[in-house]
Amino acid sequence: MADSSGTTLMDLITSDGSSSKPPSASSTTAPPPIDSAAMTAGPPVPMVVDKKSKKGTLMQIQSDTISAAKAAFNPVRANIMTQKQKKKPVSYAQLARSIHELAATSDQKSSQRQLVHHVFPKLAVYNSVDPSLAPSLLMLDQQCEDRTVLRYVYYYLARILSDSGSQGVSPGGGIPTPNWDALADIDAGGGVTRADVVPRVVERLTSESLNEDVEFHPRRLQALKALTYAPSSNSEILSKLYEIVFSILDKVGEPQKRKKGIFGNKGGDKEAGIKSLFQLATLTCFEKTPLDPGNPAFLHRAVQGVLFSDPVAVRHSLEILSELATKDPYAVAMALGKHAQPGGALQDVLHLNDVLARVALAKLCHTVSRARALDERPDVKSQFNSVLYQLLLDPSERVCFEAILCVLGKFDNSERTEERAAGWYRLSREILKLPDSPSVKDLTSEEKDTVQPKGKKDKSSKIRRPQPLIKLVMRRLESSFRSFSRPVLHAAARVVQEMGKSRAASFALGQYIDEGLEINAFSENNDSYDADVNPTAPSEGIRRVPSMSSGMGPKDTIASLLASLMEVVRTTVACECVYVRAMVIKALIWMQSPHESFDELESIIASELSDPSWPATLLNDILLTLHARFKATPDMAVTLLEIARIFATKVPGKIDADVLQLLWKTCLVGAGPDGKHTALEAVTIVLDLPPPQPGSILGLTSIDKVSASDPKSALALQRLVQAAVWFLGENANYAASEYAWESATPPGTALMMLDADKMVAAASSRNPTLAGALTRLQRCAFSGSWEIRIIAAQALTTMAIRSGEPYRLQIYEFLHTLAQGGVQSQFSDMHTSNGEDQGASGTGLGSLISPMLKVLDEMYSAQDELIKEMRNHDNAKKEWTDEELKKLYETHERLLNLVSLFCYVPRAKYLPLGPTRYLLFSTYALPFNVTKSISSIILFTIRDDNVYALLVPDLIYETTKTKSPEPDALDDDLVNFWASSLGDDGAPAMNRVNEFLAGAGTDAPDVEEENIISRPSMSYDDMWAKTLLETTEMEEYDARSSGSSSPDSIGSVETSISSHFGGMNYPSLFSSKPSTYGSSQPKEKQGGSRYSPYEGLGSPIREEPPPYSSPEHQRYESFENPLAGPGSNSYDERRPSSGAPQFGTALYDFTAGGDDELNLTAGEELEIEDEVDGWFYVKKKRPGRDGKMAGLVPVLYVSQS
């Protein structure tokens, strides 16, 4: 047994009751080891001769053990007694020996007493017994008359039979439990395995369970029960069990059918005994059967069981039925037939004094009434529906809540939005009409006895008015929230949460239910609707009068009911149990509607979080609830982000930065074009917070104050800030819709305004979101701890690379100063010293920044070079030669590769040389206009070998593409214009460029601007957001991996296209009308999803045939990691993987060693997402026992198929 103090349970049990202290460990922990030599060497003394013949081996073993006992303890009798008197713990071996001895003398009263009072209870400590006891137990079973002894015997026989019993009995016999050191010794000596004894036990139990003697019935029950403990893998026992069960059912089932309404009906002895047996047999079926829906016998028996008088039997048959109903609702409904009608057997179950039976009834009714197969039988459905609704009145919360959940459409764990939405519709619209059946009176009298608060006050009144469900449910929940019992509170909050989910689903599907509508009014109006649904009871509604009995006046609206419910829910936050509070907060989050103010929720959460007793897991759970809530209602992004911010600031030490980032990310994407700025602000507010002041814990309730008073949470806050900085760097461009390659600012304007101040002013006026993010990052680069500064510098670089001018230049300048460190003194006021060395070179970031600066330097110098070249060409009025163009192209590629080391950019569209590059490529590609494919081959061969590897699939891709949409896609006029303007026109190209840059009126910019508007960037965002919304948390990894590799490969494809057909593609790239780019456009857009690690399970990517991971990307990986520093772990998670899903099977059981690992059961089918350092990231088809769907497992545990 697991215990901490070193005393075993046996010590406790045998210790003196009067002494408060358990005996000291030294004297007790080691039971006297059994001398195995004595055991084997001892002369066999057969003490007992069983009447039945036994197997020789068993006999031998038994006598061996007994003789061993004799050898060990000379006074054989009463060894237990002596032990007891000395208050010494008894070892298992001693107990086992006593059983052997006492079994021999089981006819004596004294030995029976000793067995019952000393041996068996102490043996129970061991939870299972070793097989070598079985012969003695069987002997007792046969000979002993004492019922208590027999009961114990069945108990232990069952334990022998079960191989995966309560205490970790390992299958296959041998050593049963790890706790049994003593037993292991015996086994080593005697070696009795389960395989030896199980057949005998089964045989004995089978014969007992078939004994029809009336007096024997209780024993039959126990024998059968013990039999069910046999492992279900053993088909032999299983078939035997079936045989027994069906033979009993055949005898018992039929006479039962004649009797109906047998409540409290006491039959004769025999019948009652048989009834009980029937109950058990039913259960056995239920327990042991992999239910066979095709087998009519099961259904037949189960339906019979409903009529049965024993409540437990009814429960089991209902459970079987509801199980069967999930598979074949039609058959079940037909078989139940008239039982479901008013006054039928199912109505009787409503008053059955067995909670679980009523729960099973709720499930059954739900399954049947929702079954598609019964669509053409609305009468049957409505019968079951009406039973379900009546269960809402059940005095037991357990049943009532189950019924509410069923009405809400929460049946199992599969969340289907439509079903949920329909559930909310039902709840808010439908009306409970009580059938006029005599049994209702019983119900009322029964309910008066119960102490439970009743949800329905008019129950006892003479006139039963039909009640809107919502009203019943609300009142019931409200009264439950007044309960003092925490489980009830917890359950009620859970029900409210589910209600919120259904409501959200209903909103999401656009079902508008006017919550301001008066319930009674609309229930009147709704007669026609009801009549459709309930054709059997159309007249019921006529008696309806506006319900005054509720005391709530006639103005009940759904909204008012909800409001009053939520008021009660909110007060429940005062419960002292954090789990209840967590559930309440989740319920509040779910019930929060997007249009209402969330101030109250916010302040509740804020004050809750100040409570130090919240465990971290619970908080993260709530964060995930926010995430789920967001997915249900994307409109709430900003609200939810505000709430998440409270978590970030209040309890930084307890929440997982990854979970928070996930939430940020989803909300940012989901916030839509208008909300993006707000969303980003909400995230970055974390950065604006003043650093936690040690010692000042005042004003904890203020949301904007960081509370990180202890070092641990201060550290966690730091991590959080790092995460926020990284997040900002990765996503600012997205949030600001500012990309170098699709800039809203006319390209190149920045070159005209090199004055930094003006530039900043212009920039911030143009794009406040990005400017704000930049300012924050700049501050972080100065004032954080060094980890934060590093990440801030990286984030700035990312933004520099991705943003167009003037932001790039702005960042460049900033980084430059940062690297030089010359301005450090200037900022030293802002710099909160945390006592650490700031590093040798200025800000200490010099060495880190220099490679980043180098990239930018190269980009700028290459751009300068290009402009110089262009000027030269213009001046000399000479054509660009192929050589020159090739060189230019190579520079372009080199820069692209370089840039890719730092962050992701869509290679197809990214122009490190500046926008002017296009124009040259257009001329370059022009001569090849006719023979595109050939040119592509030539160009491919020029490129390095790695890229060459892409050639073949590319070509296929190319040819198919070029054949159809591509030629149309060419804006020939534009290309020709540029070509002519460069070559023939004679006008200096530089002028063109300048005009172009100045935004002056050549045709090209016009075209461009026009098309920028038509550019489907919104749909890009939408698409991105859509894919994101569809990902679940579980798919997070998946998304990361596919997001990292596949788009990249597409990027390369596109790059090759654009670079080799640059001229052709220029118009489409730069001014891309959606139509011109044809099919490749969405894919390329999809490529943008690489921006973040989280999103983009883009299905278009999946469909992409070549799942190669690009070599550039790998290089980027290897290069990035050393640079990434300690904080940017998110970088590390972008791992290359193959895009196509792989499948595999679990070879062995695997137990997760950490949160990100996944439990495996051998034989489970898995989808392999990703491989990382000898681990697969896999997804299961179904969630495992622990509810996890996906996680890491060792590669060796999985066989790939």
């Binding site: 103090s5 049990i13 400590v125 009961r151 069952a158 019935h217 437990v312 357990r398």
Partner: protein, 161 residues
Amino acid sequence: MLLAVLIANSEGNILVERFNGVPAEERLHWRSFLVKLGADNLRGVKNEELLVANHKSVYIVYTVLGDVSIFVVGKDEYDELACKCLIQLLLLYRPCNNNTMTVLLNALKDVCGKPPTERLFLDKYGKICLCLDEIVWKGLLENTDKDRIKRLIRLKPPTEF
């Protein structure tokens, strides 16, 4: 499924445990988790006051009775209310009309005659095991009626006839 029923003494020693469908290697976690939960929250809690916790989709209801604390862990259909019923049965409230934990507590009190001291509990150990055996059958709540359980323990037919 009732994943676990666990009874511990005030020092956190586990007296009785019944796991269902919990792999052996996870049981250790459950033991320590539950014992810690009890140690954290059961101080000064009244007898039979039910406490609740949840871990993912698993519900835990626990309470203290005399010297022993009782934990019931359930999932799916055995939610917090079902667990509550079981405990209350052990506690011998009224005839269990709605909850699971009741069953356990009822039975405990019934067997021991009064709120059990640890000594009393241990003296009645065998009976308690039999009782549990009747109440929880392979992870499903079986018998909830006090008299029925009593009769079954004595190897009598479940109902009078």
